[in-house]
Amino acid sequence: MPSYPKDWIRDLVDRKLPWQLTKQMMSEFKDENRFDHYLAVLQERVPWDDAILLPLGEHLFIVQKEGGERVVKCDCGQEFGDYRENWKLEALVYIRDTREKLDEIYPGHRKCDPEWMELREFYCPGCATQLEVEAVTPGYPLIFDFLPDLEVFYRDWLGREL
């Protein structure tokens, strides 16, 4: 089972790892300490101290607070509440459901028909970073992207208790 230096993983996150190494990593078996290296790289670049348990997206993480509660947190520090609830309920939402609004990003014929599909953009109330976009039919409930079973993931995949 291969193992790579933490620097490689940092470069991979920063998209600076040369393609040949990236391809070599893809073609090899999964490296044994990847997740820990990955978490360490993520942890060292956020300005807060809560331990990251699992990344949820490019800017979102499930973190363990001092009091023990596990919440969704943006890299700016904004918190979205318990990870078992949909974090989108706490985010700012902008819905593109008219031709004019869609035209801003998909000009001309490239856009969808707003009667069939709308775009919902979710922003962080703390730093206004776009966190996620949904493309759904109008009226469709908010999608709950991912509810991980943290305990089982840690126990069965990483071989340690959370």
């Binding site: 089972m1 393609w19 391809k23 893809m26 073609s27 078996f29 999964k30 044994e32």
Partner: protein, 710 residues
């Protein structure tokens, strides 16, 4: 003192080892081997040549002085491309297709990948283009698909492009226009302008100009463009490397120019104007060798297998005919360069062996340990287990006789590595595990043979199996087991068979022209006469060019072999056919040509595949020109007694076979005489290879000295 007079030196510089093969006037030969030295290949090849000449007791200084021909095939060319060490290119092309260099072909995103990478699209990526997009200039001009000029060349645009390219310090300029293989007019005019402009800048001699229609005037735009770009990009550097090698051997007394090997078989001077034709030369030597053996012995159908350090290569010869791959891949670029058709899997004796952490199965390759650091047992710092290490652990390899004892193999190191990395991980016995690795490798090799046989429609029982390459004889019994062949054969010079093959080749060039000829099933004699005239004029044109180019490189009598690539009407690909007519004198000759082609077509695709009703089309004509070269003269020997001479017997050694240790007799391969028969279990050793004869099997030497595994 020896009376040997070395005649031809063949050099095959592989990814791992450099092999040399020296032949004397009477067909006697000797094999040398040394590790490839990628930084300066001349070091490794001189060492390998010395290794060979040592066996003959010829003073090394005399060897090169007496040689008539030295020919090189190897990986320099390929490495130049892979490492992007070529020239800074500029491209002038038809307006509108400037992005062709970026778009390439879909197949290029995964060409050369392992099976598992091929099915994982996330790994697919276009090869890095050989030039920057900003160095590509589109100029207004257009020739249509019929060869008519529909837009004349806008000359000022060519001048502007050269101005910018000169400013950007282009080191070579390629001109490639759409359909220029049908009508050169615009391209030639553009060349004239580019040369004028370069002259004005004083760069005429330092910036070479390449014209697409002169390099490869054959249909298929992207492949044609790739061929021109590769020639412009790499040929200069490669020729420099080859000239280094040439001067290295010339300072040792060699009197002639160095030769190299073309992708379609045949030799050429390293000053050949289309040097990219030599870039795929590695496995070609073996096939040429097999074809030579086929002519010698009358074995018409052969499946050739080459097991080396990095890969397992397979090809077939049917009725003396070697199939041609018209559009091979080179360094992940598609080229329309006819090449001997070969299949290859990344499964050799230097291949790394690992345990899949999920399935807990062994996995072999595709990565190889190469020659540096090499397998664990070489003791040069290699840490990952290879197939060779498993061979050593099981007693198949003699640790004191690898490369004739030049490399002492570390048995304990190999055992420790196999234990730690493989058998302890799974929890099985060391020897059981090591044998499982070998059986797995042999099974994968056999699967590759079966797949080649079924895709080419071959019945293996009509074919002889040739096994060569440094590791071929060791696994020949394993990968041929359970399959039906006319005979299973290896060679005392198996380790340098590719180099041997090169020594059997003639000087050869190959030319091709695109035409558009249709011969309906009910064509009138008048229509047929027109087709004959078109074919004749195309052949004549190629003969003139060929004679001029080849005679610039070598002296001798030129032999022409006209080719016609024929297909049934509506088919998408054609089948190359060697014409027995040098010119078509009339409709009857054309019918003869078609009949011959149809015979070949039926042999390859079965008789029921013939479809005369569709008529015939010819889109390409070709010409092979050959000048004969001195060759090793193999002569059959009288068969002696089945009992080998006493001095051939070395001693015996324990080897692990099918779960138990057996006592195998050991023999010196070079002392086995024609007629000798050795029953298994036996290990027949050669400085450069080892033949394993399992229990219940035997090996016999025939009148040519070839070894038959029975």
């Amino acid at each position: 003192m020896s009376t040997r007079k070395p005649l031809v030196l063949g050099i095959d510089a592989g990814g791992t080892m450099t092999d040399t093969f020296i032949v004397d006037e009477s067909g006697g030969f000797v094999v040398g081997k040394a590790a490839t030295t990628p930084a300066d290949e001349s070091i490794g090849l001189i060492e390998a040549a010395q290794d060979a000449s040592d066996y003959w007791d010829v003073p090394f200084d005399d060897t090169f002085r007496e040689l008539e021909v030295t020919l090189y095939s190897g990986t320099t060319m390929l490495n130049t491309l892979l490492q992007r060490r070529g020239k800074r290119l500029g491209l002038i092309t038809t307006r509108g297709i400037e992005d062709d260099v970026l778009m390439g072909r879909g197949v290029q995103t995964w060409a050369g990948y392992s099976y598992s990478d091929r099915i994982h699209a996330v790994t697919h990526v276009h090869p890095q283009p050989l030039l920057q997009r900003r160095m590509v200039f589109g100029v207004t001009e257009r020739v249509d698909a019929a060869g008519e000029t529909v837009i004349p060349l806008y000359e000022d645009e060519v001048r502007d492009a050269v101005e910018v390219l000169v400013g950007d310090e282009a080191e070579a300029i390629v001109i490639h226009f759409l359909f220029s293989f049908l009508n050169q007019e615009n391209e030639k005019r553009a060349e004239q302008i580019v040369l004028e402009e370069l002259e004005r800048h004083g760069l005429r001699d330092s910036v070479p100009v390449y014209v697409g229609s002169e390099l490869r005037p054959v249909i298929r735009e992207n492949s044609r463009l790739n061929a021109a770009l590769i020639e412009a990009y790499a040929a200069g550097w490669v020729r420099g490397q080859l000239q280094n090698i040439e001067s290295a051997i010339q300072t040792r007394g060699f009197r002639y120019p160095l030769q190299t090997v073309l992708a379609y078989g045949g030799l050429c001077n390293i000053r050949h104007p289309r040097l990219h034709e030599t870039f795929i030369s590695g496995p070609v030597g073996g096939v040429m060798g097999a074809r030579y053996v086929s002519q010698l012995t009358g074995m018409k159908n052969i499946i050739v297998t080459d097991l080396g350090g990095t890969s397992f290569d397979i090809a077939s010869i049917t009725d003396g005919y070697v199939p041609v791959e018209p559009e091979p891949t080179l360094a992940r670029f598609k080229l329309n360069l006819p090449t001997i058709a070969m299949e290859s899997i990344g499964n050799g004796c230097g291949s790394l062996v690992k345990v899949d952490p999920v399935t807990r199965k062994f996995q072999i390759g595709p990565e190889s340990a190469g020659s540096d650091p090499g397998p664990v047992c070489f003791g040069r710092g290699g840490e990952q287990v290879t197939v060779t290490d498993c061979n050593l652990v099981l007693g198949y390899l003699n640790p004191d006789y690898f490369l004739g004892g030049k490399v002492r193999l570390d048995v304990e190191g190999a055992e420790r590595a196999v234990r730690e990395q493989l058998t302890d991980v799974i929890g099985i016995d060391l020897h059981e595990g090591a044998e499982a690795v070998l059986r797995l490798m042999e099974r994968e090799a056999q699967a590759a043979i079966r797949s080649l046989a079924s895709t080419r429609g071959l019945d293996t029982s009509d074919y002889y199996l040739f096994g060569y390459g440094g590791a071929g004889p060791m696994h020949l019994a394993g990968y041929s087991a359970g399959m039906d062949f006319s005979g299973v054969i290896t060679f005392p010079f198996a380790a340098a068979f590719s180099a041997f093959g090169c020594t059997t080749a003639d000087y050869q060039h190959r030319y091709a022209r695109t035409v558009a000829l249709a011969i309906p099933n009910d064509a009138s004699d008048a229509a047929k006469a027109d087709v004959c005239a078109a074919i004749n004029s195309s052949w004549a044109e190629m003969e003139i060019q060929a004679k001029e180019e080849l005679l610039r490189e070598v002296e001798g009598e030129v032999r022409f072999t006209p080719l016609a690539m024929i297909r049934y009407g509506g088919q998408l690909s054609d089948l190359e056919h060697v014409s027995r007519f040098s010119r078509l004198e009339g409709p009857r000759d054309l019918e003869g040509l078609i009949d011959d082609w149809e015979d070949l077509y039926a042999r390859i695709n079965s008789r029921v595949a013939k479809y005369e009703k569709a008529g015939y089309q010819i889109f390409e004509l070709g010409m092979l020109v050959t000048v004969e070269k001195v060759k090793p003269r193999q002569v059959p020997h009288e068969l002696g007694s089945p009992e080998p001479a006493a001095d051939a017997r070395k001693s015996s050694r324990r080897m692990y076979y099918r779960g138990e240790w057996v006592d195998a007799s050991t023999w010196e391969m070079d002392l086995i005489q024609p007629g000798n028969r050795i029953p298994g279990p036996a290990i027949i050793e050669h400085p450069a290879t080892t033949l394993i004869v399992p229990p219940q099997q035997s090996v016999e030497s025939d009148e040519w000295g070839f070894l038959w595994l029975k």
